[in-house]
């Protein structure tokens, strides 16, 4: 029993054969007879009052089966956050006014696409155009057009404040007073989208007393909750079915208007309704990531020890609160995780603007925060004459540190991560060696840079916990019921490995039923970086429960005490006489016969921070955030052409403390995926907007990296936890925290290569050339 057979192995994906053979059913593949095509009418204005909506001509068009406007709703709002402090502020269809281009005003269901399109054109809407505001810092100032009222608890003379996070500890002013060196910097980031290849798509079918929904999502239970509430239906009347998902990256979590519209139109027409967003809609009306402007002031001792830090972060949250008030909370978490900051003052503002509503995106603010902090730290180190590794080791948190919010770093491997990545990348040998000798004719310069991150592994936010059921079949194979959704991260494979390990059953003997709100237990969903930990432990517990039943029955049948029994290959055996054994099929029969029909079902449930009553305060950061911090240190090597300003990532090194790696191959996939997302963010991706309109709403002009843009990526795990059968285990986040260090590392590496310090992403040739020119002018001035 001591040697692990399944867990810790790079076993092949459970969903792999379906996906590569085309058998996998995605939402668009679900076909129901008589399905109508739904389309959504969207605002052509960033900010306008709706004076009148007249759908009569659309309704009169032959082939149109239904049209809905706000009048057809029950007026229940929804939002990414729905708390007493931050109540929902989004209407499923706009009432009275629209606050961003593409906001949903009405929806039609028709017999085909062309009829639906014509129907949209026939809906008459009268607008009174209101002045718009698009820059967050402008939108905050008194006198700016008011999109929504400032949050009542924010007492400053500011407008359009959707929410504020404010926290401090220690004495910041005292810390600055004691500092040998103080530095202030400001960092900005571009608007970036998720880039999920499968578009947003929903099929809804109302059968009179039951709403069946298939929708591309990151978790079916949150969809059920929000859809039920906005429709005024009990949860039991709404069933979200599982479909495979073609990419999410944070962009498919809470409710989207088209999901409501498909459902409502189906209820009105009695026919299935499908709404598939086209790519232009996704780019110009759906939710992108958050753009954060980050101002940092740091005071340090001569030796690089951080004494005090002050942060002011402004988030351009778009037209609704969305996850804008979450990201200003999380930004604090991403700041305080990796380094000791004895005195900290933090303020984060989420500001309404007439941009599209925002959503989480892989890392949910961490890449932007770490880009800022790690660049700033390198600037400080340079001033002090300290190398980047030393200053990080000086401040890095170690194991068992109690954090100001009462979290604990537990078996933190950060120091090992920094040391190992430095050694694996030969950092200090390459650092500052990049610039070639003066006589070199080559315009290429290489540079190296480092970034450090910590990330939560699950926290408390609806639905908070996971339940799992493991059922033994009478032939000894297993069915696992879990609400977890595999969005490509490998959930099904990992959960299967855990069951296989706990019950000594082969991967192919386990069938998973997942993410169906009617038949599977509730689950946290694939969106707070806790699935392997939370759902995984629930799965382990369910399997343990089943194993205990199996061993009890076997013990009775075999006349051997339970502690003398082992399991292997779907059977129980006597540890002292391995020939004496019973197959699970025999155990099943015995259990049914002698235990009043018990068919051996194991139940498990798990929740992160099981004894915490609720999630932390988004406004004050009070309360525990997570019990499980992942840590990483990453190094980027770049090559910059100093004549053209063109730069590329040559190689990324990732060393991370992932706790225990359940499937190292899947982890490697996560690392490589995040390296590619980081380099896209660093060099090419940007949603360009002007006055709230999107200028590049397509894959041609929004440039995602291609296969030949990929950089070499090496990764190493610092394993700080062990897996023991029957015991709770700790895994740490690996799915989204690793964009950050690469992005930060690239910025620092560009500086190392060229002397150009970039404080705004993306790092375009234009910005690098401008930086090089500035350096030339400074040099010329010095010589003069």
């Amino acid at each position: 029993m001591s040697k692990l057979k399944y867990v810790g192995q790079s076993l092949k994906r459970k969903d792999g054969p379906d996906k590569v053979s085309g058998r996998a059913v995605y939402t668009q593949d679900v076909r129901l007879p008589g399905t109508l095509i739904g389309r959504v009418l969207r605002s052509p204005h960033p900010h306008a009052r709706i004076l009148k909506i007249d759908p009569s001509k659309a309704l009169a068009l032959p082939g149109v089966k239904g049209v809905i406007t706000a009048k057809d709703t029950i007026g229940v709002k929804h939002g990414f956050v729905e708390t007493p402090r931050y109540p929902a502020d989004q209407d499923v269809l706009a009432i009275d006014k629209v606050t961003h281009v593409g906001e949903e005003i009405a929806a039609v269901a028709a017999i085909d696409d062309i009829t639906a399109q014509r129907a949209l054109e026939l809906i008459e809407v009268e607008y009174e155009i209101l002045p718009g505001v698009f820059d967050a810092e402008t939108a905050m100032q008194p006198g700016a057009p008011e999109i929504r009222p400032t949050h009542p608890k924010v007492k400053e003379d500011l407008v359009n404040i959707a929410g504020k996070t404010e926290t401090e500890w220690g004495d910041v002013e005292k810390g600055f007073a004691e500092a040998d060196y103080i530095r202030e910097d400001r960092f900005e980031n571009q608007l970036r989208t998720h880039g999920y290849l499968e578009p947003q798509v929903t099929l809804a079918h109302w059968e009179g007393d039951k709403l069946n929904v298939w929708t591309s999502s990151m978790g079916t239970f949150i969809k059920r909750a929000k859809l039920s509430r906005t429709l005024g239906l009990p949860y039991s009347q709404v069933r979200i079915h599982k479909t495979y998902v073609g990419g999410t990256f944070g962009g498919k979590i809470d409710l989207y208007s088209h999901e409501y519209c498909a459902a409502r139109l189906s209820m009105l027409t009695g026919r299935p309704v499908r709404i598939t967003a086209n790519r232009e809609e996704i780019f110009s009306a759906y939710r992108h990531s958050q753009t954060l402007t980050i101002e940092i002031k740091t005071g340090v001792r001569k030796d690089g020890t951080i004494l005090a830090q002050r942060f002011r972060i402004i988030n351009n949250a778009g037209a609704h609160r969305g996850s804008g008030v979450v990201v200003i909370f999380l930004a604090w978490g991403f700041i305080m995780g990796p380094y000791r900051i004895p005195n900290l003052k933090y303020e984060g503002y989420a500001v309404y603007t007439n941009h599209t509503t925002r959503a989480p995106q892989r890392g949910h603010g961490a890449p932007k925060v770490r880009f800022a902090v790690e660049s700033h730290l390198d600037m400080i180190a340079e001033h002090l004459g300290i190398d980047p590794i030393t200053i990080r080791l000086k401040n890095a948190r170690g194991p068992w540190e109690q954090l100001p919010n009462n979290d604990n770093t537990h078996e933190a491997g950060l120091i090992d991560c920094i040391k190992m990545v430095s050694q694996k990348s030969a950092f200090l040998d390459k650092w500052r060696q990049a610039r070639p000798p003066a006589d070199s004719k080559s315009p290429l310069r290489r540079g190296i840079g480092i970034g450090v991150t910590s990330y939560m592994s699950g926290t408390l936010i609806y639905p908070n916990g996971s339940g799992v059921v493991v059922k033994l079949n009478d032939d000894g194979s297993l069915i696992v019921l879990t609400g977890a959704l595999d969005v490509g991260q490998g959930a099904e494979t990992v959960l299967c490995q855990i069951v296989a390990e706990e019950l000594a059953v082969g991967m192919d003997d386990i069938k998973l039923i997942t993410a169906d709100t009617d038949t599977t237990p509730q689950d946290i969903g694939a969106w707070i970086s806790g699935m392997t930990y939370v759902t995984g432990n629930a799965t382990r517990q369910a399997a343990t429960h089943a194993r205990e039943k199996i061993l009890k029955v076997a013990s009775e049948e075999m006349g051997v005490p339970e502690e003398d029994l082992g399991i292997e290959d779907k059977s129980v055996f006597n540890l002292h006489d391995p020939q004496q054994r019973m197959s699970y099929a025999q155990v099943f029969s015995a259990s049914v016969a002698k235990h009043r029909g018990d068919t051996i079902i194991g139940e498990g449930f798990w929740r992160t921070m099981r004894d915490e009553p609720t999630h932390p305060s988004l406004a004050t950061t009070k309360g525990r955030w997570t019990e499980n911090y992942a840590f990483s240190a990453q190094v980027a090597e770049v090559e910059v052409d100093i004549e053209t300003g063109e730069a590329r990532l040559i190689k990324a090194y990732t060393v991370h403390d992932c706790g225990f790696p359940v499937n190292p191959g899947l982890i490697k996939g996560q690392v490589d995926g995040q390296v590619s997302m980081a380099l896209g963010q660093a060099f090419m991706e940007e949603v360009m907007t002007k006055n709230g309109y999107t200028l590049n709403p397509n894959w041609l002009d929004y440039r995602m990296p291609l296969i030949h843009n990929m950089a070499g990526s090496e990764d190493f795990e610092v394993i700080t936890e062990q897996y023991r059968v029957g015991q709770p285990y700790r895994t740490k986040e690996v799915g989204e925290g690793l964009v950050s260090g690469v992005l930060a590392g690239i910025a620092n590496a560009i500086y190392d290569a060229t002397g150009v310090r970039l404080t705004s992403a993306p790092f375009t040739p234009e910005k690098i050339l401008a930086g090089l020119r500035k350096l030339e002018r400074e040099k010329a001035r010095e010589l003069a």
Binding site: P44, F683, M684, L695, P697, P765, E766
Partner: protein, 339 residues
């Protein structure tokens, strides 16, 4: 999805296609590979009632004519040009430019003629107009210009982004155009108006029949560069094509043609820089000087988020390198000639 109804016909000869288009009239358009036309129909900037497809028309492989000119049928797929041994030998710059277009799947269907006939591009123009930019711009027959609101109604600063046209201009190619009145042969430059509203001189019912490329002179060198952000599946930030000849006794330039693409309403020749090159020794210092001059001679339109000063910078550096490559090739070719 194309959200309007249209007819689709598939004649079996170019003559029949031209005749049919003239019969149907202005509501008809030719369809070749469709990689420009179909997206434009999808986003509603063209709404033909009838598509006359050229895809069933047989076409001849590239060949040399009696005078040694390379002849390429306009219906030749870009992937065929890219991989043709004859094209690679006779006009390697054309093969290189065909290879640089989009990605392989597009090159398998896109045609040479279609590439030349592609519409000009602009971020505002090349998207659906359901709820963004609903009022039609000048190019779509309306009354405004989104990127340049001060522009007059007869000015459209959209850019012509063919990767191949500048190469044909630099190679001094000619084009046969088939119309109702028969075939005419023109210098390639005569295809382009330099007007973003109507970038081509072709009349409705006229189509490009084939391209003719003169044989390369003996001391010839070429250079081609497509500046991009990610190196594939995209149109150029800026594009440069250089064809030059050096004198037999060294690296003194005897003739040169430079065409810049993707930054104006049509491919642009750099007449002044070309004139400066003639008689000049093409050493590194002079190439730098010429590239500086060229970057001032071009007048790039800011496009797709790239500013005019950046486009000048981009062209300055990459043209210098492209010229150097052309000189190197001319030198290599000279050595080959001697041996």
């Amino acid at each position: 999805m194309i959200l309007f109804d249209f007819e689709h016909e598939s004649p079996s000869s170019t003559e029949a296609a031209v005749a049919r288009l003239n019969e149907v009239g202005e509501e008809a358009r030719f369809l070749a590979g469709g990689t420009d036309m179909i997206p434009n129909m999808r986003i509603g900037i063209v709404k033909p009632e009838c598509l006359i497809s050229l895809t069933s028309i047989p076409y001849a492989p590239p060949a040399l004519d009696a005078k040694g000119w390379l002849e390429i049928d306009a219906l030749t797929r870009l992937s065929e040009i890219e991989h043709s041994k004859l094209v690679g030998d006779a006009a390697p710059m054309l093969a290189a430019s065909a290879h640089s277009v989009a990605g392989n799947q597009i090159r398998q269907v896109a045609t040479l003629g279609g590439n030349l006939c592609q519409e000009t591009r602009c971020l505002y123009l090349n998207q659906k107009h359901d709820f963004q930019f609903v009022e039609p711009c000048f190019k779509r027959g309306g009354d405004c210009c989104y990127p340049f609101p001060k522009n007059k109604k007869n000015v459209c600063w959209s850019v012509y982004m063919s990767d191949i046209a500048p190469v044909l201009v630099a190679l001094n190619a000619e084009v046969s155009v088939l119309g109702a009145g028969g075939e005419v042969r023109l210098p390639i430059a005569a295809l382009f108006t330099g007007d973003g509203l109507r970038p081509h001189t072709l009349n409705p019912g006229e189509l490009i029949r084939r391209i003719h490329i003169p044989p390369a002179p003996s001391h010839f060198g070429w250079g081609y560069h497509k500046s991009t952000v990610r190196g594939g599946l995209e149109f150029a930030t800026a594009l440069m094509a250089v064809a030059l000849e050096v004198r037999a006794n060294g690296l003194v330039c005897s003739d040169a043609r430079i065409a810049i693409g993707a930054v104006n309403e049509g491919p642009v020749r750099l007449d002044k820089t070309e004139a400066s090159m003639k008689g000049l020794e093409l050493n590194p210092a002079n190439l730098r000087m010429l590239a500086d001059q060229a970057s001032q001679e071009v007048n790039p339109l800011p496009h797709h988020g790239f500013s005019k000063p950046y486009l000048r910078d981009n062209i300055r550096v990459h043209l210098k390198r492209t010229l150097a490559l052309a000189v190197e090739r001319a030198g290599t070719r000279m050595k080959e000639d001697r041996s």
